[in-house]
């Protein structure tokens, strides 16, 4: 079990929709691991999750741990709180991260000052335990 620092009742932001397609992603995140579907035939990870490899159309799939490293491929700063639960975070960053293994994820940042946001910035995954059941993978600047 992961440790949970946040008070569960206090978390008012939207939570992921868990489906048969994405359940392993969220189960791994809860263990503080970043897993993506991987095709045994063409040896590539892909996203979003689904029942078939989008490149070779084969179904020899498994979920595998990724390095968790990547670079910011795009970023934005929200200055408007469409979600009242994000109002206290304004302005907040949303990033797309291109993982070393290829796929890009939309995510948030942890301890990443806004003046460091840049396309190409090396980042690594970090985990934010937001409720007892849900951990959100986010990204912070790489330390090396």
């Amino acid at each position: 079990m992961a440790e949970h620092n946040a008070a569960p009742a206090a978390y008012a932001k939207p939570l992921p929709r868990i489906t048969p397609d994405n359940r392993p992603f969220w189960e791994a995140a809860r263990r503080h691991e970043l897993h993506l579907p991987h095709c045994a035939d063409c040896a590539r990870a892909f996203w979003p999750p689904g029942p078939v490899c989008p490149w070779c159309f084969e179904e020899n799939l498994s979920w595998r741990a990724l390095s968790g490293r990547g670079v910011i491929s795009s970023w934005v700063l929200f200055h408007r709180a469409w979600f009242p639960s994000f109002a206290g975070d304004i302005p907040y960053a949303v990033v797309q991260v291109e993982l070393e293994e290829g796929p890009r994820l939309t995510s948030g940042t942890l301890n990443l000052p806004h003046d460091r946001l840049a396309v190409g910035l090396p980042v690594e995954v970090a985990f934010d335990d937001v409720t007892p059941a849900i951990t959100l993978p986010k990204f912070r600047a790489r330390r090396n």
């Binding site: 996203w47 934005v76 700063l77 929200f78 200055h79 469409w82 979600f83 939309t106 959100l136």
Partner: protein
């Protein structure tokens, strides 16, 4: 018959014979059906047709924003034998027009009414935040929404795309400002436009961020209004009140891992492979089908919900190269009297957000020569082409 010949057989076989619009405004009290009725009756009057002449509907409204085709048919007392239902997204404008033309050409309908009606000021909760149910899809909504991380509103996808575009090509916010400024200059010549006062670069620079790198002037209006476009066969069109505007060429929406709805192919948003992708012949079938060269296009119309989309559409159809549009739109090139006027009614940025149909109505009026002070001189060919790659080429 090869596809190329089948396409050629459809060239200039259908026409827009009537256009109509409701009043455009913000906070209008009318329902979508009330606005839609004004547009529908105006289009019938414009064409010299009666309600009984319309036997097809291509509906670009409805869930999650209102009523469906059957409610429209029931309410207006129509007898419909062909219907195509889409809902309120700009991505479905071309699709509705194309279905109308295809149904007429195939003989499934004689005259198809394309109808949209928007009540965005009443329904703005659907455009981002907790009530945007479309944006709540797992692994991201239709414009790249991901509410878990606060990525919401269709504009979030345009912001992600433009942020990457800036980094890749060195485009600047000042360059982007040329888009809303040009469209505002068009709108100043259009009495129906909601926003007509001049927009200066200084005002643009001083305006607030919404989702950085987008400022408030990069956003379409949140407005209300309806448009209707009547499509019939070219034979029928010859007997009607207006000079027909022919549907000469078309190409469909593109979709796949290389596509992101609010970014050009090759940009590298979501799972797009990164490249500096110049459109190939296979990406430009609209010109080949019409037998009309891109250089003959007198004005270009696109879905300008957010100003970067204009840049992406221009690159998509090869008016300039990948990464070049931000520089290309400078110097009045897309404004009134420019080399390629874009969205001459003021578009969604300055006229009204009628899902893009206000631009279809506008280009039809332009091709009739009926646009008064904003008339594009000697206009024969106009193109509707979207950032997601579909298009219709019209000529008079």
């Amino acid at each position: 018959m090869p596809a190329r010949e089948r396409r050629a057989a459809l060239r200039d076989r259908t026409a827009i014979v009537g256009v109509g619009a409701s009043v455009f405004g913000r906070g209008l009290p009318q329902s979508q059906l009330q606005l839609g009725l004004r547009a529908f009756k105006a289009a019938l009057d414009d064409a010299g047709l009666r309600r009984e002449d319309v036997d097809g509907l291509a509906i670009n409204l409805g869930w999650p924003l209102g009523t469906d085709y059957d409610r429209v048919a029931e309410t207006f007392g129509l007898d419909i034998r062909y219907a195509n239902q889409t809902w309120t997204h700009g991505r479905f404008v071309t699709l509705a027009l194309q279905h109308a033309a295809l149904a007429v050409h195939a003989g499934l309908a004689e005259c198809v009414a394309c109808l949209t009606a928007c009540s965005f000021t009443q329904e703005k909760d659907l455009l981002g935040g907790p009530h945007d149910i479309e944006g709540m899809r797992e692994e991201g909504g239709t414009h790249g929404e991901n509410p878990v991380y606060g990525q919401t509103s269709p504009s979030g996808g345009a912001a992600l795309a433009f942020s990457r575009y800036m980094a890749r090509y060195g485009a600047t916010g000042d360059q982007l400002a040329a888009v809303p400024m040009a469209l505002r200059r068009h709108a100043a010549l259009n009495p129906a436009a909601i926003m007509r006062e001049p927009l200066t670069l200084e005002a643009y620079r001083a305006s607030r961020w919404v989702i950085q790198p987008l400022r408030i002037y990069d956003y379409c209006l949140v407005s209300d209004g309806a448009c209707c476009v009547l499509v019939t066969s070219v034979e029928r069109a010859r007997d009607l009140a207006q000079r027909p505007v022919l549907l000469s060429g078309m190409q469909g929406i593109r979709s796949g891992r290389g596509e992101f709805i609010f970014g050009p192919p090759g940009l590298g948003i979501n799972q797009q492979p990164e490249s500096a992708r110049t459109p190939l012949a296979a990406d430009l079938g609209v010109y080949e089908m019409a037998g009309i060269d891109r250089a003959a296009v007198d004005a270009f119309y696109t879905y300008d919900a957010f100003s970067p989309l204009v840049l992406f559409a221009l690159e998509r159809f090869g008016f300039c190269g990948p990464g070049e549009a931000a520089a290309w739109v400078q110097g009045g090139r897309i404004g009134p009297g420019g080399e390629l006027p874009v969205n001459t009614s003021g578009g969604l940025l300055s006229e009204a957000h009628v899902s893009g149909w206000n631009s279809i109505v506008e280009l039809v009026r332009q091709l009739r020569g009926a646009c008064g002070p904003r008339q594009v001189s000697d206009a024969h060919v106009m193109q509707w082409g979207t950032p997601w790659g579909d298009s219709v080429l019209f000529h008079n």
